[in-house]
Structure formats: structure tokens, C-alpha cells
Symmetry: C2
């Protein structure tokens, strides 16, 4: 890794770790006999997408219509857009469905009716269920609403009902492995109840699709689930390490940042690298906000996380690092340090490209 070419905040990616993360999750899906439909919003890169193909992946998840367009242009033909369908993009959706089979999400009668009246080509539909995360989705016990939505979809020629879908996003704020297991178990039961009800009522099969990274990483048995859609696991990050969803050596990205200031009296180092590179996502670590862990770089990659070194505050372009004396002694202004991001999805989204540890640039989609 030619560190001397790095002059500004640069997102390093270790492709071997990426490959290992994909392989592990892919094999786990196979062992569980569930469909593996990874979420590509984390990496947003056609080139990283190709690594998934090595493991037989041919179905993906994205969040937005523009992301679906991008990956469709790169040869992906079975794409679920896992956000309640944005009706204002119906024209683009219709364009896309004429090229690639799409999966769309609904959580209301209104959107279901709108789609049944405005979709030109066949699409797969998932009803989103709110199983406790409390973002979007029909609440799991709003049975009559779920039944009405199901009727609308089943009465449409173009809409093909695949099943029920949920994101157990509350696992991201889990404090322990047991927390994650409990959230999964609780949400899984809710999903299973909805499915049983629908199947008994309509006499046909309904799949269950779930897929947060903490659950998919920690659990060995996915129960009655038919499909998983994790995304973050491709890189992992400090938040996942903190939850226990990965080990340090699974984390596949680090932000290389120039040292621009240091203050030995205050035990601080200031890095060029801030909210416009990392986002303002934080975890609470030893009772304090932590916006990233700190590592040094070597000729091949980055090193282990340095104990008691962390980003304690962050502004637009600056990160203030709490630095132990040992680090202060060895680091000078103009050197590079690595920040392990708290949330790799948001960091990758901000950085828009990667530098591999063997010095290649990997581009991401250009959206705006």
C-alpha cells in the first residue's frame, strides 16, 4: 500500500476481508436453506457487486429506484427495492420493470391500489410488516389492514404477492448478543403469526424476508425465514463490533486521515477527516461518545485498534482524537492514522470511492 500517495481522507478497503465476509454469509444462508439477497446500499459499487457473483449470488436488495437502475445497468436482474415504494417515481419504476424483474414494498392500501392501477408490467410485491423496529411497515397486529392490502394485491393482474418482509433494525441498538437473539426471536414469532394467518386465509404460500446484519451475523438458525437481506456485513464497522456481530479482523474498511495538529498536554491529535467523510454516527463507549476507533497504517494494510484512542468529537472536516501518550510520541503532523468508522454504510456513501490495500481505485455509483 503506497501510503505516500494518500494526501487527504481516503477510504481503504481490504478486498480479502470483503470476500471472506461474503463467503461466510453466503455459506450460512446455504446451510439454512434460505435465499441470500444481500443489500447493496452499503457498498454501492458494481465492482464489489461482482465479488458476490463468485458465491452464486444473483438476487440483490437496494433502497432506491436510482440504485436499482445502476445495478440493473451492471447486469443484475432480480432486484428488491426495500423501502415503501415511492409513488412519485412510478414512471422510472415502469421503465425499469420492462428490463428487470423488480420487487417492490408496500405498507398501505393506498400504495397497493396506486400500484394496481399504475404498474404496466408484472412486479413482485412484499408487504412490509413493522415487527418492533417502528420505522415503516404495517404493525404486525393490524390484521384487518394486512388482509385488505393482501386482497388488493391478489386482485391485481400485474402485482404478484411474494410474501411479508421486515427489517429488524432495532438490533442495531442492541447491547449484547442476547439482546439481538431476543429481538430476532420476538420479531420472528410476529412474522410467523402473520404468515400463518395469511396462508390459512388465502390457501397459498407466503415467504418471509428479513435481514439486518446483527441478526444474520449472530444467529446460526434463521427459523422459519425464507430470505435474508443483510448489507452492512460486507464491511462491518465499529457499531457491529460493539454489538458483537463481528470481530475486529472482519472490519474491511478504514478511513486513512492526515494528522494536522497535535497537543500533548491535552492528549489530543486532530485529523483531517470529519462529518463529511465519516458522518456524525457515534456509539457510546465507556460512557462517552465515540465517532471512530483509531489504528495505524502499515505497508500492507491497517493495524489493530489502539486501546484508549478514539475520535471524541467531530466537526465538518476535523476529528479530535483522544490519544494515549504512546501514540502521541510516535505520531507527527503529516503522518496518517486510520479511523475505523462507526457506520460503514454512511461512510462509504460519503466517500464515493475506495482505495484497495493493493492500490487500486474502486468506483461507486454516481447518483447526484
Amino acid at each position: 500500500m503506497s501510503n505516500h500517495n494518500i494526501t487527504k481522507p481516503t477510504l481503504l478497503v481490504d478486498i480479502e476481508r470483503v470476500r471472506t465476509n461474503i463467503k461466510r454469509m453466503s455459506e450460512k444462508a446455504q446451510r439454512n436453506n434460505v435465499e441470500f439477497r444481500p443489500h447493496f446500499k452499503t457498498h454501492q459499487s458494481a465492482e464489489i457487486g461482482e465479488i458476490f457473483r463468485e458465491f452464486g449470488v444473483n438476487k440483490i436488495t437496494v433502497t432506491t429506484v436510482e440504485m436499482a437502475e445502476y445495478f440493473a445497468q451492471h447486469g443484475w436482474s432480480d432486484i428488491t427495492i426495500a423501502m415503501p415504494v415511492n409513488l412519485r417515481e412510478i414512471d422510472k419504476i415502469n421503465e425499469l420493470t420492462s428490463i428487470a424483474p423488480l420487487g417492490l414494498i408496500v405498507d398501505s392500501e393506498f400504495s397497493s391500489k396506486f400500484l394496481s392501477e399504475n404498474i404496466f408490467n408484472k412486479v413482485n410485491i412484499w408487504i412490509e410488516i413493522n415487527a418492533g423496529y417502528n420505522r415503516s411497515g404495517v404493525i404486525n397486529d393490524s390484521i384487518s389492514e394486512i388482509l385488505r392490502i393482501t386482497e388488493i394485491i391478489r386482485n391485481s393482474q400485474k402485482l404478484k404477492l411474494s410474501g411479508i418482509l421486515s427489517h429488524f433494525g432495532n438490533t442495531y441498538s442492541a447491547k449484547s448478543l442476547e439482546d439481538v437473539q431476543n429481538i430476532f426471536a420476538d420479531s420472528h414469532i410476529k412474522m410467523q403469526k402473520v404468515r400463518i394467518l395469511l396462508e390459512s386465509k388465502f390457501g397459498s404460500e407466503f415467504k418471509i424476508s428479513v435481514g439486518d446484519t446483527p441478526s444474520c451475523s449472530i444467529l446460526e438458525d434463521f427459523g422459519q425465514v425464507d430470505e435474508i437481506r443483510p448489507g452492512n456485513f460486507v464491511f462491518y464497522d465499529l457499531m457491529q463490533l460493539n454489538i458483537g456481530a463481528c470481530t475486529e479482523k472482519d472490519i474491511a474498511v478504514t478511513l486513512a486521515c492526515p494528522v494536522i495538529s497535535k497537543n500533548s498536554e491535552k492528549n489530543e491529535i486532530v485529523l483531517y477527516g470529519g462529518a463529511i467523510h465519516l458522518s456524525k454516527e457515534y456509539i457510546i463507549y465507556n460512557g462517552r461518545k465515540c465517532f471512530g476507533a483509531i489504528t495505524t497504517l502499515n505497508a500492507k494494510s491497517w493495524c489493530k485498534i489502539i486501546q484508549n484512542a478514539f475520535v471524541k468529537s467531530i466537526s465538518q472536516e476535523h476529528a479530535v482524537v483522544n490519544a494515549p501518550e504512546s501514540l502521541l510520541k510516535t505520531v507527527e503532523i503529516g503522518d496518517l492514522l486510520g479511523i475505523i468508522p462507526v457506520h460503514s454504510c454512511l461512510t462509504a456513501n460519503l466517500m464515493r470511492k475506495y482505495l484497495t490495500t493493493d492500490d487500486r481505485i474502486i468506483e461507486m455509483a454516481k447518483f447526484r
Copy 2:
């Protein structure tokens, strides 16, 4: 404003409000007889930069070398890069100084020596002082260090010492107008003490440059300050409104977002618009995290902030809005709502372009 053309999260800008904000700050600088060197990191747009020229602005502040390059290419020739100089970019800095006069920031003997040995052309140097914000800068009472840095700069043929510079960024967490005034008064005295000491020691003039938006907006008298560098005031935002640095009608940007889900039982609306559009910056409002205020859009612009409507949680692409019944009754899936951003600098940085309320696209710099 042709709202029907807006299909996804779109950053609206009201150029008349932008012009009024610039005019007001420019006139205040003139009344105070201080140099006005606005920070262009907020808007990052050559076109918005042109509005500043209408008010005689010919000096600007940026944060990074690439931002300096961009604005130099657009005709700006007096640019301060207001972050401790990134020594790893010395080659680009030397290139730039051959085209445009630059101002650089140092807060260490190390960087000062490095510059004195590696700069090819004359540059203006500011010594950054930490007057209480505790990010970068030499602590104001580290007198011997400040003197040593001054000596190094004065002994260099290429480095021209302009004076001392500080960012009173602690005003951003002020809870009241008095808080801002007190932080300014306290930090101002510290800066003035350093200047008096330097002037008595070296017998020449040293300027004071400061410039956070809360101080510059709230104070009528800038005391002994020679130059102000506010940036955020060009757009303002919810954070500035909360501090009291602006009124609601000064806020010049709003994120238009499609409604993708609503839940009347939970008093919630879900918008397509999340951390990748707004950032995860929040304020505490009535004891709860608030990631944005909510407004409706009309044919010309956006309307007043709706009481008791706010973004209560945010993920990568979703915003969950706490919605009063009156709003729930009038808004349907597929409509647009506006989110007044908590921090307009981070929002603009994420969005990378603007839509004016008279339907023109304004581009920002393309960096990555």
C-alpha cells in the same frame, strides 16, 4: 415551483433569502469596519459565490485545498484555507500559490518549520489560537509556544504573518443569545491579550480573524476583531434558529421529500429522505432528539414550520416524522413535505446540488 417534477429528496434553495442573508452580513461587516471573508464550505458552489460579488466580496475562506482549487478556478484570488495546513498536500499548495495568493493556518512549530522549508511562493500565515472551542489551535495561554511559532514564521522569506485566527465553534452549542455573547466576549479577550503580547514583543501589527455564524449574527459590535469568516449564515438552519442566530424566514434551504408511509394510530409519517441527505445532526427539542422541522410546500416556496411536527428518528434513507393529526389528515402517500435541516452545511455537502424555488438547478463543486 414545479413540485410535480420533484420525485426524490431535493434540496430547495430560496435565492432571495440567500441574497438578503449575504447583504445583511456584508453591511454589518462594513458598519464594524471589519474585513468580510465568508466561508464558502457551506454552499460549495461557484454560482452562489457570484451572489457574494454583488456585495463587493473579494476574499473568501475554505476548508480544504481542493475547495481552494475549485474557487480559484472560478476567479477567486484571495483564499484562506482555514484548517491547520495539511502537509501531505504541499505539492498542490505550491501549485496553487503560483496562481492565487493563499492564506494558510498553523498551530505548531512543526508545521511552521515545514512550511518555511517547503513553500515556494509567498503565502499569508495565520496562527490558529484555541480560545475555548478545544478543536485545533495553540491554547491561548501557551505564550512561549505562540512566540516560538511567530519567530519561525517571521524568520522565513516566504511566510508573511497576517495575525492570529480562531473559530469560536463553542457558540454552536450555546443555549441562548447571552451564551453566545459570553462565549464571544471571553474568547475575544483571550485573542486580544495574545495580540497585545505579540505586538509589544515584535513591534508590528497582528490582525485578529474570527467568524462563527452565531457570533457574527447575534453581535452588533465585533470589538477589536479585524476580519470575520462566517459561512453557515448564507443558508442558516434549525440549529441557528434554535440558538437565536436567525429567524425562520432567514432559513434559505429546505429538503423536499416524498411521503412513503403514514400511520395515523402512531401519529407518524415516513419520508424518503434520511441520513444520506440530511446527515445525522440533531438538536434537542422539548427534551427529544429532533433531526429536522417539517413544513409543507406551495407553488412558490415552502411554508411555515408546522408546530409539533418534527423528524424524530432517521436512518440511511428514511425519516420518521412525528405528525400532528391536522397534518396526517391533509397529507397522503406520494405527497411532498419539506424538512428544514438541522445543519445546512452538512445537508448541502450531501446533496451536491440545489433546486431554486424558480426551478433552476445550481451545481456544487464535484470533488470525489
